[in-house]
Structures are given as C-alpha cells and as structure tokens.
Symmetry: D2
Subunit: 230 residues, 4 copies
Amino acid sequence: MTDETPKSALRKMLEDNKSFSEELPPGQLDSIQYEQNPYITVLTCCDSRVRIRAFLADPHPTDNVFVIRNVGNQLAVTSGSVDYGVRHLKTPLLLILGHTRCGAIKAASTDYRKLSLHLVQELNGLHIPVRGMDPGTDDDVQWLQAVERNVHYQMDLAVQRYAPEIAEGTLAVIGCVYDFANLYKKGIGKTVLLNVNGESNSDVFTKSDLMDDLPADLVDSVLPGSPVPQ
Amino acid sequence: MTDETPKSALRKMLEDNKSFSEELPPGQLDSIQYEQNPYITVLTCCDSRVRIRAFLADPHPTDNVFVIRNVGNQLAVTSGSVDYGVRHLKTPLLLILGHTRCGAIKAASTDYRKLSLHLVQELNGLHIPVRGMDPGTDDDVQWLQAVERNVHYQMDLAVQRYAPEIAEGTLAVIGCVYDFANLYKKGIGKTVLLNVNGESNSDVFTKSDLMDDLPADLVDSVLPGSPVPQ
Amino acid sequence: MTDETPKSALRKMLEDNKSFSEELPPGQLDSIQYEQNPYITVLTCCDSRVRIRAFLADPHPTDNVFVIRNVGNQLAVTSGSVDYGVRHLKTPLLLILGHTRCGAIKAASTDYRKLSLHLVQELNGLHIPVRGMDPGTDDDVQWLQAVERNVHYQMDLAVQRYAPEIAEGTLAVIGCVYDFANLYKKGIGKTVLLNVNGESNSDVFTKSDLMDDLPADLVDSVLPGSPVPQ
Amino acid sequence: MTDETPKSALRKMLEDNKSFSEELPPGQLDSIQYEQNPYITVLTCCDSRVRIRAFLADPHPTDNVFVIRNVGNQLAVTSGSVDYGVRHLKTPLLLILGHTRCGAIKAASTDYRKLSLHLVQELNGLHIPVRGMDPGTDDDVQWLQAVERNVHYQMDLAVQRYAPEIAEGTLAVIGCVYDFANLYKKGIGKTVLLNVNGESNSDVFTKSDLMDDLPADLVDSVLPGSPVPQ
C-alpha cells in the first residue's frame, strides 16, 4: 500500500500535470484538436505496473493508443468500448494484453464472494482461464499459465466478434503478455506474443503475411524461448 | 482514421516495446515485482488523446497509477475495477477524469441504436449528462457543458459509493476535465478541477483541509477562470 | 405498498406452493423432466401486474414459455438469457412485451442518480425511448408513447441481433404492449401488436406471410384502434 | 425443441391472450390500475418449467409477484431490477429460486466460449457454484449439488447487499429450489427451503422468529428429507 495520504496524493497529481502542461512543446497537439487517429486499440489490465508507455515511443507527436482497461483485460466487461476503437475509429490493430503476476487472475481463483457485487461480477469473467489453478497460489508457473489461458480466452472471444474485419484484412487481433518480471527471459518490460488472429502456434503465425517480412531479431525478441508448460 | 495497416501497426508496436525494454534502466522495476502500490486510481476515457503521462512525471522509479478506462469515463460500466483500486489497493485518491471534445459524449446525444448492442449499452450510461445537448453538436460550449455534467454525475455516483471511505478521511474523490484544447485558457494539456468529494463550489473546496495549504499558484492553475455557462 | 410482513409473506408463499403441488394432476409434468420445449421466448418487465398467464392458457400440459424479466423489458441487460431462448432452445417466436403504466419508464425520465448504482445502470438503458417525455409525468398519453417507443427501440436492437434467424424464417420477433388499463380500448388484459420483425406499419405486417391467414377477428383484436399520437 | 413454427407460435400466443382477456372477471384488475403492491420479489431462472403459478394461488384478485428472471437466477446480472422490488416497492420477502435440472448450471460447467459474448458473460456468473462439478454431467446428485451451491451463493450476495433491510426486520431473504422432478421426494412441483437470511441450517432457521409459529406440516413440507450429500 502507498504511503501517500489523500492530501499528498492530490498535490502530487496536480504538480505532475502542471509540469506536463508547461513542458509540452508548442504545437505538439495541434493535429489532434478535432479528431483522434489511434493506430492501435489496447485492451489491458488496470494494474499500475502495466505501462502504455511501453507501446508508445515518447515523445510521439501525438498520443495514438486507444486504451480500454479493466481488471483482467476482459473483452466482455467493456466490449462496447472495444467496439468503439475497432469499429468506429477503425484501428487496424487490436492488442489484448495480459501481464505477469496479475492480481485479478489470482483473486479470481479464490472464493471472492465477500467482495463488492460489482467486483464479483468482473472477477466472474475470469472463470474459464483460472480453472485448474491452485486457489490464490504465488507459484509463478501456475500463475503465468492462467494469465496465458486468459489471453487465449479473450482472443477467442475477440476473434469470434471481429471475424468480419479480420477476414477483410482491415484488422489484426493479437494477444500478448507484458512481462515486467522477466519470467520469459526476454528482458524486463518486454511483451511476448502468444496469439495472432486466433492462431497460437508461433511457427505458423510468424510465417503469416502479417509477420513474414519482420526483421528476424524483432521476431525473436517477442517469442517466448521455451513455452510455459501447460 | 490512421494510415497504418494491420501489418505496419504491428511492427510499430513491437519496435516501440523493444526500445522501451532495452532502454529501461537496470533495477528500475525491482520494487514492483511482487506488489503494486499506486497512489491514485484514475477512471478516464479511452480516447487516445488522454495521456496518463499527464499525471505521471517521467521517469518515475515505478508506475503508480491504477487506471480504468471506458468510453465516457463511467463508474457503472466497470465499478468492480474501480473498487479494486479504491478498496483492495486502497489508493488515497480517486480521480474521475473527463476530457474536452469527448466523442462518446457526442455520440450519446444522438440516436445510436444502430451501433453494436454492447456499445449501445455503454453509451446508455451517459443518459443523464447529455440531456439538453443538441444531438451531435460540435459547439464547444454545449459540448463542454455536457462533459462537465458527466464529470459531476460520475462524481455523484462515486461519492455515494465511497461515502464510508471519504468520511473516514482515507479517500478523496476528485472530478477533473483534461483540456488538450485549451478551452479553459489554462494551458494545453492542463486539467481543471471541478469537484472535490461532491462539492462543486471552488470557493468551498479550495478552503477544505484537503487543499488549504497548497501553493496559491498551483491552486490557480487548476481552477477554470470564468466558469462555462450552464 | 403491501400490508404483508416478512413472516406473513413467507407463509403465504409456502402455502400457495403446497396447494399447487398437491393439486397438480399426476403425470402432468412427465414430459418435461429431461428437457424444456418452449414455443416462445418472452422478454418482459418485472412488474407484478404483467401476467405470463395472459399468454399461457391454463391448464396446459406443460409450461412452455421461456421468460426473461428485467425492469423495462430491456434486451441489453440480459441479452445472454434471450440468446439462450432464441439460439440455444430455438423458440420460433420472440415476444418483446412492454406494458401500460410502466414504472421503470417513468423513473427513467427523472433524475434518478440517487438510486443504487445497479438500478441507475439498468434505468440508463431506457435513455433513448424516454427522450421528450415530461419527467415523471402521469399523463397516460405521454407515458404510453414512451412505452411504445421503448418497445420499438428494443425491437430495433433485437431485429439487428437476430437478423440471420429472421432471414432464415426460423424466428419471428414481435413487439407488443400488454394493456391492463384498457388504454387501447381493446379490453382489459389485451395485448396490442405494434411491430413485427421491425415493421411497425400494421397494414404491412398484417398482410405478411406470418399473419395473412389469421382469422380477421383475431387480427382485429390485437391492433390498436386509433394509434397513440406521437 | 418445439414443433411450432413462427406462424403457429404467433397464433397460439394471440389466441391465448384473447381468451385470457375475454374471460377476465369484470373489475378484477381495478385495484392495480395505478400502482402495484407485490408481496414478494422473486429472482428465478428463465426455464419454461419454472412456474410463477406455483407461488401464486389462482385466481388471486390481482397479480402480486414482482419477478426478475435470467439464466441461473443470478443477482449480479440484474441486481438493479431486484433493487427495484426490494427497495423501491419494498416487498417484505425476496425469494431466490433455483430449480432442478437447470440447463444454465450445466452449461456453465462446460467450456462455453463459443456461445455469444452476452451469454458467455451471463454464464460467467455461475463460476463459483459450478466448481468441482463434472463438466456437462447429467448425474442428478452432482447437478443438484451445483444448483444448491448456486442458491447459497446468490443468497450470500443478496444477504450482503440487503443487510440493512434484514437487520431492520423489514425484509427476509430466502433461498429455495423448485423441484419439478421430485428429487427431494417432497412432491412434484414442491419447493424446498435451503437458506433463510444466510442461515443454511434448517434446525436453526425453522426456530427463528420468522418461522416459529408455522404449522408443523407446512414446515415439514418444505424441508428436504435427507440432505443432498455435498
């Protein structure tokens, strides 16, 4: 838990925003005054350790990531918001992004009925992926397996939902895990790519049109070395 | 709409993450490996122009903002996720953050029944704040009034929900508008503060315990000069 | 409000069930032991004055109405349950049934933000139909117009959702108002038919394949005499 | 699956309603024209075999059961509607009613991700009760155990939510299973009572103020003989 009080937290937030505004290069936001043009829709967890910054080289001239966040990066909870990015703003990429050591995944494996009804309802959405996990375990292998199952599960739901756009070639949906713990041994803060348009075999998806001309070192950097045992 | 294709968008995302991971100072994330300690829970819109970076001086040693995002920054849509931040992680501050020129607010003022059922359902949540707005207007005054009404509306819901924590003094809930368009004439990228714990009169809330010893220039920087006419 | 106490209410309920079970003709439920075969899915309001009995001649050999009920007979709130009836049980008919003097419609026209967050969320779904109604009015014409707009609105959502089944001819979706107040002058307890598969012109839908060989007096009994002015 | 077509189903429904309206005794609905006064709020499943008639002796002068129905009789799915009955209409009794051979319970024990996203979302709510059940089993003991766990689970959620009303003595919440299959050997169409205000020990709840002066044969008729083994 943080050491901040409501008072100190408020001050920190206001000061950070003041600095941000004062240091913003003139004209930097001119192009986004009347519309947004994100290149990617990201559905991810609320966890404060998940950094959008990790997918947004800074300073970009404009922000360009349309972001939906709820506990456990769940499509069903806010699929309307995801529709807004994919179908209304027509971003060509939808990223479903889980992360290592996800507290929501762990909570969903326990008997959480004493939490608030709204939180119960959201954790319910992690039902299928947490099956078989020891309730509340800290074991990194089991925990990461459940995180991965959740990414594949959300991918299944998304690939069904956006099948027309994927078939037309106007959308790719990808499933990743953001790894701030370096459990995949690819570097702290790296994401690994687990699923592309519903395909989870990396031998297949790396040879697809979508990825076949990416530099080998870039491809290598996003594939888990040895897969997490399931 | 963006010029990117699924293929180019994927490459951009992977490259940005690769750079991020490679440039991360060693040890920077050590302290967050086993738990997160956010000082603030932020409920905001998905709009790509809303930057969490605006409330997160960078480089911070760790990320410390727990973030929920859905179209129109609505409590009801993902109140379970907000509960997770406020009641489980016990952040001392909850920020409800609208923004200028919010597309969701505009959409909710129109007859949107032809959108997907999930998006219909989420836009429905903006019912009360968009009342009285000309459907689909681009008029900045009307539009910003509806954005403000939505912030106050979400604040009403949140202040009711978290009344015990506010009464105990362990939580403050604040309502702001992030202004990338400088409609408030306080600077591009500034937020203005409209509501503190349900109080919308700035003469009152700036004299509250929460704010009474903030530097005058900081207070001044967050208050709208002349209020938007309602 | 009822005069019953928790104690007397419990007794009444238990006694009514005891009588029901004791008076049930032997063998009457034999055919439904292992599966249900409803001929209709009904989405209606929770209002205690809405009687499923009105669509279920008694004694039927078995119950045959699959029923979803929420305040304001809203598709979005429990569309999964409606899917279960339409797509899993494959009932050939989906009835969306509003009713006269619907309290949910009236409540949704007011500023209801002080209600529970869950109820707020459900009333939000009546956003579009209550537009233009005087908040909280008891005027039967205005109120019934809003009830009708809600039926047409839910029909729009349903006809979009079940377009494939309607096109195949395996499903008809109809929108009705149950009129316990005889506002349509067709008899207390009658329903009137307002919309068939998205068509709201009764000259058209009564001549469709679905209705063209119904007895004239039956057709006449379900059409409102003079339409409610809109 | 039913043998009816959309056409025949429509005719049946219209004819049943016509008869109902024509046979309604004059004046029978006079008292409910301007308000409803239900004595009970019932949260139950959509299953066509669940008869509200089982708790509503007929002919009652008026309907008096406020009913919420979704697959698996889940509080979280439509808790706003339940609030409307309990807190707005102030019924003194809330009945959470599961039933034998519930198809939703069985479906929730399988991997249902290929169903519609809305149905996935609703089945997710049955996560905790179906744990440990063999996926998709037809075994009556296992299946009924899961039905019972769901009743107790929904009761836990409801007792938490309505704790103030229960403490004041203005509300009792009870959990029952409607047994059209006579698995409890108390008669076809009987309900058994499993939980009163969170208490699941029948020795305790039958001696509570709420039940202590009920006739012994009535109490006996609602208690399962030997409990289902857990």
